[in-house]
């Protein structure tokens, strides 16, 4: 039951600190704008409007979900060390795993709520504009579930950083760098090598797996249907066919487990 006591307190703190409001506002605002903006061309293309919306929202979520995950988690261990509450919590009869998992439950709930509100707005707006005919909710549900997996991975990374650096100020800096590397620099680096390689063996064999090894890219590939027109995404689409849905799903499911396990291993060694 200690897990739920921890989760309950973390939720209360997240609400009071406006983390919940911030996450919901970010997701709600961007999904609304993207749904409304993406709604215009779909009538003529005859493509399922929800699929189009889901595609734009995927592009956005690749940046936003890791960011929200890292922002929710960077303070989790470092902040408690600094305030002295960790030593106190550890004097109570509960394990470190319970503390970590309680925090994770609360943070993933905040993330799930924010994503659900965003996607709910998208569904509502689409129905309002196009009616319920020819709508497939599968892309939205897929987007929701993969968002949680992506978020969970970055929550775990955030806890690991928090436990390693032990200072909230430093932790916040490190997670921003992690975010930048994972969602921007990693892809840029791969693209650079891709251009240099000019269609050689790297492009055909190594690149697709390197791409899918990044949870953010696995998430993007899983949610990007083939209708996309941009050059970058069609390139990604081709790469996605090599690694396949299984590879992408594996990456997206293994990352949260690895990251949370790493966080637990680090947290176990933390002397408050």
């Amino acid at each position: 039951m200690s897990v739920f006591a921890i989760a309950r307190l973390e939720l209360l703190i997240a609400r009071r600190n406006f983390w919940v409001a911030t996450a919901v506002l970010l997701m709600g605002l961007f999904t609304t704008v993207l749904t409304l903006a993406g709604g215009a061309p779909t009538g003529t293309l005859g493509v399922d409007p929800l699929t189009v919306a889901a595609t734009s929202i995927t592009t956005l979520s690749v940046y936003l979900i890791p960011l929200i995950g890292l922002l929710l988690s960077f303070d989790a261990i470092a902040g408690e060390i600094e305030r002295g509450t960790l030593a106190l919590s550890l004097s109570y009869p509960l394990s470190r795993a319970e503390i970590l998992f309680g925090k994770f439950l609360a943070h993933i709930a905040v993330l799930a709520f924010a994503v659900a509100v965003g996607l709910g707005l998208t569904a509502g707006l689409t129905i309002w504009m196009h009616g319920t005919e020819d709508l497939s909710f599968v892309p939205l549900i897929k987007l929701f579930l993969t968002s949680l997996a992506l978020g969970a991975a970055f929550l775990g990374i955030g806890y690991t950083v928090s436990g390693l650096v032990r200072q909230p100020g430093v932790a916040s800096g490190v997670v921003i760098v992690v975010w930048l590397v994972c969602v921007v620099l990693y892809d840029l680096g791969l693209l650079g090598v891709l251009v240099a390689d000019a269609g050689g063996t790297f492009t055909k064999t190594v690149f697709p797996w390197l791409l899918v090894a990044n949870p953010a890219d696995a998430f993007r590939l899983l949610n990007m249907p083939d209708v996309s027109v941009s050059v970058l995404t069609s390139g990604l689409g081709a790469a996605g066919q090599v690694s396949g849905v299984v590879g992408q799903l594996t990456s997206l499911l293994v990352w949260p487990v690895l990251a949370i396990t790493a966080a637990w291993l680090v947290f176990r060694k933390v002397e408050p």
Partner: protein
């Protein structure tokens, strides 16, 4: 069963001996004050008892169990030296959270808020609390579930004198209920004199561990006797008794416990040459300095 048994505890941080061969027992219902300068090893010892930091050698048992085990943690109430509860929670929310962790009903938490005098402020955010009020929240959570062992790290720092006395009443109640209380402090004040035993740590060594009166006797610190004469007689009094003149009216003398009565009868024998006599036993601060200093010379 002895509530807390520390045997030959050694804690080494690199070349620094934070604790060297410390042995200490605290029985149920006993109150022990753990004294020492900053850096003497008090907090290290408490953290070792909590299982937060492993000992280099030696052993600690809390209710017969290893420190940090569930049995030990269930038995312990801990008040950290400096704790900053999350400012955006109310006192009640914070305390009820700890009650859930200890599997105690929330009603108990509300009663404890009353007990530490926070019932009026219970629903305000902790960030609006004064330092003393935060300390009370800390004390309240340490009392949850009637712990078998209360570890209070510098509990009275930041409390005003009235709160200190209320605090001490609470600790006394706790001890009467069978809780072993170990509280640390960096100075020997009136509060520590109300404990059953005083343990003094200096440079990681336990240099004293006894009741206050026994420590006083063993230290053999001189008693100060201040004799007030008149402006005319002070020269004669000083000549007769020895001692030093402190001003143009008084003479200060020192003596050991066993010489006190003789000295006093000698003084009263002076009749109306003197106006007043003050007898001051060694102060707590002097006693504490005496024990802290003995080891520093030895080491």
């Amino acid at each position: 069963m002895t509530t807390l048994v520390i045997e030959n505890a050694v804690k080494q941080h690199g070349s620094v001996m934070a604790l060297s061969d410390v042995s200490l027992r605290v029985e149920a219902g006993e109150r022990v004050a753990l004294l020492g300068h900053n850096g003497a090893g008090k907090t290290t010892l408490i953290r070792a008892v909590l299982g937060l930091t492993p000992l280099t050698t030696g052993s600690i048992r809390v209710m017969g169990a290893h420190p940090g085990s569930r049995i030990a943690r269930n038995a312990i109430g801990y008040l950290p030296e400096s704790v900053a509860f999350h400012g955006s929670l109310t006192g009640r929310e914070q305390l009820q959270h700890f009650a859930r962790l200890k599997s105690v009903s929330c009603g108990v938490a509300d009663d404890l808020l009353d007990r530490v005098g926070l019932s009026d402020a219970a629903d305000r955010k902790i960030r609006t609390y004064s330092k003393g009020m935060r300390q009370r929240i800390g004390l309240a959570q340490a009392l949850l579930g009637r712990p078998k062992l209360a570890l209070l790290d510098e509990p009275t720092s930041g409390l005003d004198p009235v709160s200190r006395h209320e605090f001490y009443d609470i600790v006394e109640d706790l001890a009467q209920g069978g809780t072993a209380v170990l509280h640390s402090s960096h100075a020997l004040t009136e509060l520590e004199t109300r404990t059953d035993r005083i343990a003094i740590l200096s440079g990681g060594k336990l240099v004293a561990n006894d009741a206050l009166s026994a420590l006083r006797n063993a230290a053999r610190l001189p008693i100060k006797v201040n004799v007030t004469a008149t402006a005319e007689t002070v020269e004669g009094v000083a000549a007769e008794l020895g001692g030093t003149r402190t001003n143009c009216l008084s003479v200060e003398l020192t003596c050991q416990q066993h010489e006190k009565v003789d000295l006093l009868s000698q003084i009263t024998g002076l009749g109306d040459k003197i106006r007043d006599v003050d007898v001051t036993p060694a102060s707590l601060e002097e006693l504490y300095r005496h024990y802290s200093a003995t080891t520093q010379e030895g080491s």
